[in-house]
């Protein structure tokens, strides 16, 4: 028999009702996020799981809660924050240890960190010249901030400036410039750059025939690069009236930032070239790029630092010597170029085939299509990857303390030897301070990178 009484028309609209209490609101949230995992007894395995979850929850609450509380207690509650009577170690040690605090006290010694803050941020940079470092820090902060700020006008230009002009600016300010670069070298660079640009002009006007005209872009690139090197050399040889500060006096956060930022900025062009080389259809270029990349990715950074510290003087002609920081920078740059190459290569691979085809269909040469179409898009794809590489590099800068450079961690370690502040809290406080600084920095950057990734993927849906 057919069931006919389903014919139905709804007369009124049922409005939204609030959900039952147990489902929404705080109780609902609590249920869903906590108790539901522990109360499912509908089958033996489910019951078993529920019991395990319960035990685990209790154990973690006890353990984690305990550790977290201990940390907060050490760092904040029981910590000493000021040293008004300038007791130094007296303010951070108990009476039994010769200090002023009651027995059984244990906590962080923040006056110690405050006293050492110049060392930690600048190293042994001369006090009167600190304004130079501060100026560099300020420019860095403002430049990066502006480039990353959504909606800021012309931020590609600030970005480009940060990548090219800023390093030079920072170098001049930090070292004091006035390098001894021979006039002959400068003139030679200048001359060669003009020559290449001139050749480029001639080639563009098809004056040498078809074969040479393909090399137009090559000539221009060589010319412009040489000119930039000349210009940089010129700027570096001028006497600005700033006193020379040796790189061995740099320390703390300054060294960390210099190594990390130089590493990334210098490795970017090399990384792009390597990535293009690895994807190239020319077997020799491909082999050389692949070998380079796999070699530098296969060895630990410490080996690279040791090698550059110890081998670089051997590999350079007699008389040419780089200071320790520069040797480390060269090693870091080559090392991170290999990782950068892989990140860029990933970005290029993610590009839809149609872009390459579209560009060549328009008649653009290889270099032109790369410059105008492919690389701008690929680079946007890889920015999260680049940020992640930077975060890794930032953490890896701590390794330079092993070859005797004083980065933030190394400098902090050196402060532990100060007998005036000697106390059981000295070492833990120092390491805790460094840990907090790294955490804030790295966590912030990784959040930014995730934000960028989400934004970019949304733009493609």
């Amino acid at each position: 028999m057919r069931n006919n009484n389903y014919k139905f028309v709804q007369k009124e609209v049922i409005s939204q009702q609030p959900p039952p209490l147990s489902q929404a609101g705080f109780t609902g949230w609590l249920w869903k996020n906590l108790f539901s995992s522990m109360t499912n007894f509908s089958s033996i395995s489910a019951a078993f799981q529920s019991i395990i979850m319960f035990i685990l929850t209790i154990v973690l609450l006890y353990f984690c809660g305990g550790q977290l509380y201990g940390l907060i207690d050490f760092a904040i509650i029981s910590a000493v924050w000021s040293d008004p009577e300038v007791l130094k170690r007296g303010s951070c040690t108990t009476v039994d240890q010769g200090g002023s605090l009651p027995s059984g006290w244990s906590g962080a010694c923040w006056p110690f960190i405050f006293a050492k803050k110049k060392l930690l941020i600048y190293g042994r940079y001369p006090g009167e010249e600190l304004w130079r470092v501060n100026l560099v820090y300020l420019t860095l902060f403002l430049g990066i901030g502006y480039t990353l700020f959504e909606g800021a006008k012309g931020r590609q230009w600030t970005g480009l400036a940060m990548l090219t002009i800023f390093p030079l600016f920072a170098l001049i300010l930090l070292t004091g410039a006035n390098f001894n670069i021979s006039w002959t070298t400068l003139l030679m660079l200048f001359g060669l750059s003009i020559l290449f640009i001139f050749l480029g002009e001639l080639a563009r006007k098809n004056l040498f025939g078809k074969i040479i005209s393909e090399l137009v872009s090559l000539f221009y690139i060589c010319g412009v690069t040489l000119f930039l090197i000349f210009f940089a050399g010129l700027l570096l040889s001028i006497d600005y009236g700033l006193s020379y500060v040796e790189t061995s006096d740099w320390g703390g956060l300054l060294v960390t930032l210099v190594v990390a930022i130089t590493g990334i900025v210098a490795s970017l062009p090399l990384g792009i070239i390597l990535a293009l080389g690895r994807r190239s259809s020319m077997p020799i270029a491909r082999t050389i790029s692949t070998v380079f990349i796999e070699f530098w990715r296969g060895i630990p950074l410490i080996t690279v630092l040791f090698a550059s510290s110890v081998l670089l003087p051997l590999f350079l002609p007699d008389g040419v010597d780089f200071n320790k920081l520069l040797r480390a920078l060269i090693g870091v740059m080559l090392f991170s170029a290999a990782y950068m190459a892989e990140v860029v290569r990933g970005g290029l691979q993610a590009m839809p085939r149609g872009q390459f085809e579209g560009a060549s269909a328009m008649g653009l040469s290889y270099f032109q299509s790369m410059r105008l179409i492919i690389l701008p898009q690929a680079l946007t794809h890889v920015i999260p990857g680049i940020v992640n590489t930077f975060i890794g590099l930032f953490k890896d800068t701590t390794l330079v303390l092993i070859i005797g450079l004083f980065d933030l961690l190394g400098q902090a370690q050196s402060t532990i030897a100060d007998a005036y502040w000697s106390s059981p809290a000295q070492a833990p406080t120092a390491y805790l301070a460094v840990a907090i600084m790294f955490f804030v920095f790295c966590f912030g950057m990784s959040r930014y990178s995730m934000f960028m990734e989400r934004k970019l993927s949304r733009g493609h849906k």
């Binding site: 906590l34 929850t57 020319m282 796999e294 955490f439």
Partner: protein, 409 residues
């Protein structure tokens, strides 16, 4: 017609010529560069009075090395063993840290990754805090924390903290635990292990066949575990009843009386892990686990929700869905970045140089290099070890990827 023909020739000639010309130039520049570098090195070495060569490897190394697995295997003796032995010790110690570290960090990382996916806020919160805290702090700082901060507060040489009764103990000289001693007849036990492995393989094949033929599923996992545990134990028991114990467990000995100098853990009894190794191991395992946790989480999340829904809709339970549908697909995504983390852990073991644990970098590129010079040869030999690891891993990755690739049009 002829004009387009000559244009075509121009183009082909041009493009290929350009490519060959460029490649030859590149090759020549690279070769010239290496020749220049080698020439400089040669000049600098002769100026110093050194020469290039591997002969130093047979010279005796005159320095102490912390007793570790490496020194035990190579039977290191100060004044008798050569620099080549030092090289081997470094490799063995690196290897031991890498292998044990990789196993531990995989277990920990997977657990934390799965915790992060739980719907229990406490467990999920713990996992998140762990991941963010450990990931954003440099490894060297982890190492210093464990070595200087934690291990230093351990009791001194003549005290200890014991775990599990007296079987494990820890103080400032190291971490002590039971050690297997191989007596007469240990070969039979090893044979027993091998036999049980073969039995397990045979059984799982059999169980699979039965499953396909009749639909009945043996609890393969439990039965296999039983076999692997019981058979060697049985052999041990039988042998000890007939003769004597083929494998003994030697527990660490702690002397509490006698001359003060001799109190504390007896050397050579039980297994000892120096505090440097313990610190390095803890730092590496906990640090890498935070990255692995993220990889595992991303891999499982990447599996489209529809897959689990389709699996539930067709009647499969949670366990089966996980085992048959989610994990096979998630593993495809997880394994490539996982192996690169394994490689990172191996390379990061080189940080041992900061706390003087005798792995490859610290004793070979550290102490040995300081004693002999010969930087180029030593660094080259060291780089070769790491490059071999990397190459083997890459090859494995490529093979694995081609095997499990999802078949597509």
């Amino acid at each position: 017609m002829s004009k387009s023909y000559s244009n075509a020739i121009d183009l082909i000639y041009n493009k290929r010529f350009r490519s060959i010309f460029f490649q030859i130039t590149l090759l020549i520049s690279v070769i010239l560069f290496f020749l220049w570098v080698a020439n400089n090195a040669n000049n600098n070495l002769t100026a110093r009075g050194d020469s290039f060569g591997f002969g130093f490897l047979s010279n005796t190394a005159g320095f102490q090395i912390l007793p570790t697995l490496g020194t035990w295997v190579v039977d290191y003796d100060v004044g008798k063993s050569t620099y080549f032995d030092v090289y081997l010790i470094g490799i063995i110690n690196t290897f031991i840290i890498a292998i044990t570290g990789i196993i531990a960090t995989t277990i920990l990382g997977f657990s934390i990754g799965i915790f992060r996916l739980s719907n229990n806020i406490i467990i999920k919160g713990f996992a998140t805090i762990y991941i963010e805290a450990f990931r954003n702090i440099p490894l060297l700082l982890h190492l210093f924390f464990w070595y200087f901060a934690v291990l230093r507060i351990l009791p001194g040489k003549r005290e200890k903290v014991s775990l599990l009764g007296e079987s494990f103990g820890i103080n400032i000289t190291g971490f002590y635990g039971p050690r297997p001693i191989f007596n007469e007849g240990w070969e039979f036990v090893v044979l027993g292990v091998l036999i049980s492995i073969i039995l397990v393989i045979m059984f799982s094949r059999y169980a699979k066949r039965i499953h396909q033929q009749t639909g009945y599923k043996y609890p393969t996992f439990w039965i296999s575990s039983g076999i692997i545990i019981l058979i060697p134990c049985l052999i041990c028991l039988i042998y000890s009843l007939l003769y004597s114990l083929p494998i003994e467990i030697q527990f660490p000995e702690f002397k509490t009386d006698g001359p003060k100098l001799k109190r504390g853990y007896a050397q050579g009894v039980g297994m000892m892990m120096p505090p440097e190794m313990l610190a390095l191991w803890l730092a590496l395992v906990l640090y890498t686990a935070s990255f692995i946790a993220e990889i595992v989480r991303a891999g499982i999340l990447a599996i489209h929700k529809g897959q689990t829904e389709a699996s539930y809709a067709v009647g499969l339970g949670r366990g089966e869905t996980l085992r048959l549908i989610v994990i096979p697909q998630a593993l495809r995504i997880i394994i490539p970045p996982l192996t690169s983390q394994y490689l990172n852990l191996t390379k990061n073991s080189s940080l041992a140089v900061a706390i003087a644990y005798p792995e490859l970098v610290s004793i070979f590129a550290g102490t040995a290099l300081n004693q002999v010079g010969q930087e180029i040869e030593i660094i080259f030999m060291m780089a070769m070890v790491y490059l071999t690891f990397s190459l083997l891993t890459s090859l494995f990755m490529n093979w694995f990827n081609s095997r499990i690739k999802l078949v597509e049009r």
